[in-house]
Structures are given as C-alpha cells and as structure tokens.
C-alpha cells in the first residue's frame, strides 16, 4: 500500500515563529488532507488538498502531486497551534482507505 512519511516528528517553537511541516507519499493520490489533533484528541480538518495551494488565515498548504509531497505552513504560531498534525492520503489505486502518517508533534511556547 501507499506509504506516508511526515517530518519533522517533533517541533518546538516560540510563539510568533513560522514553521513548515512536510508530508511525503509513495504513490499517486486521489485525496490528501491535513488534520490538527488538539490536546483533547479531537481531529480538526485543516485542508483537503490533493493538489495545488490553499490558504486559511495563518495556515496554508501546498501539494505537488507530481513530486509526491505536501507542505503545511504555519505562520506567526500561537500556543493554540500546539498538538499533532497528521497528513492522510488516499492512493489512486481504488482502495478508498486513507493512510495516515505518524504525525508531527508541535509545541508552541508563550
């Protein structure tokens, strides 16, 4: 099946700093999403982005499908950005089962 690798595994920032999270995948995809899991365990959908670029406030994401990677940018980070960021992909092979990366754990200090 499709492989998903996220980097870095851990990230510690001071409030106000910018960061880039990366998701590499091993095959072509129908679906790629970024999620934020808050400290209470809730998974929040950030972006549905199988290709192209999207922005939502301080967050933006870019997927380059031909090169099999996606980037999540966080600008002017805040303590509420803390949590784990997951990338999930659905391969185009027709299995319809999303595969999750191991996540990037982000801590933003005040």
């Amino acid at each position: 099946g499709i492989q998903v690798e996220q980097s870095p595994p851990d990230l510690i920032l001071q409030e106000g700093a910018n960061s880039t999270l990366r998701c590499n995948f091993s095959d072509s995809v129908n679906n790629l999403q970024w999620f934020h899991q808050n400290p209470w365990g809730q998974l929040i959908n950030l972006f549905y982005i199988p290709s192209g670029t999207k922005q939502n406030g301080r967050l933006s994401a870019t997927t380059v499908a031909t090169e099999r990677y996606s980037l999540l940018y966080i600008s002017s980070s805040q303590t509420t950005d803390s949590g784990v960021y997951f990338c999930a992909v659905e391969g185009s092979g027709g299995s319809y089962i999303p595969t999750f990366g191991r996540g990037t754990s982000l801590i933003v200090h005040p």
């Binding site: 129908n30 365990g41 809730q42 998974l43 997951f86 659905e90 027709g94 319809y96 089962i97 999750f100």
Partner: protein
C-alpha cells in the same frame, strides 16, 4: 460537510468489561470507519462498516474483540470487548474519503482501562 457525534467522549473502564461507543452522523453515508489511536501513535484502522453487511476488519483486529453494528445509514457502534489495559486508546469514527471526498471525524472516545 458532515457532523459526527460520538459518545462517550471519555470513560474509565474496569479490566474484563466491555464498552460500546456510538457514532451518529447528520447525513446518510455508505461507509463508516472505526480507528484506534494508542497513546503517542498514529491512527490505525480497525474496520469499515457498511450498512446491511458485515464489517470488514483490518489485519490484527477481529470481530469477537471489536464487534460493530451498522443498523442504518447514519449510525454505527463499536464495542471493545473484554478490555485490558492495552485497549486504552482513543477510538474514532470517521466518514468520507472514498476516492476524493473530505474525511471527517467524530470527537473521539478516550478510553482508559484499569
């Protein structure tokens, strides 16, 4: 979009007991997915639940341990049977995906087995 209500949100369970988690979706969906997330780990798919048929379990998960019901197109339950401390996890239900649709999750059920 889809709104998914999941309960309980949190529970502490005694070893050897069973607990049923409920998942209610605000629209009709063909497939519902159940995931387990052990502490500090990523999400692992337990099974896919289709209405009117037996759930399809992933490798390492069996129906006797994780029986699933799917009585209609908006509701599903997952039971964690004969629990042990190793079952302490967040359990999440999900809809969507399936070839290009946005994936949505319930709020999660955080189970601690003592």
């Amino acid at each position: 979009s889809a709104v998914i209500s999941q309960k309980p949100s949190r529970d502490i369970c005694q070893r050897g007991t069973s607990l049923t988690i409920q998942c209610q979706v605000d629209s009709q969906v063909t497939m519902m997915f159940w995931y387990r997330q052990q502490p500090g780990q990523s999400l692992t798919l337990i099974a896919t639940a289709n209405q009117g048929s037996e759930a399809t379990y992933e490798s390492g998960f069996v129906i006797d341990k994780f029986p699933i019901s799917r009585p209609n197109l908006t509701f599903s339950t997952l039971t964690v049977s004969n629990m042990s401390p190793e079952d302490s996890s967040i359990y999440l239900c999900s809809v969507g995906g399936q070839g290009g649709n946005t994936i949505y999750f319930g709020e999660g059920s955080w189970l601690t087995v003592v």
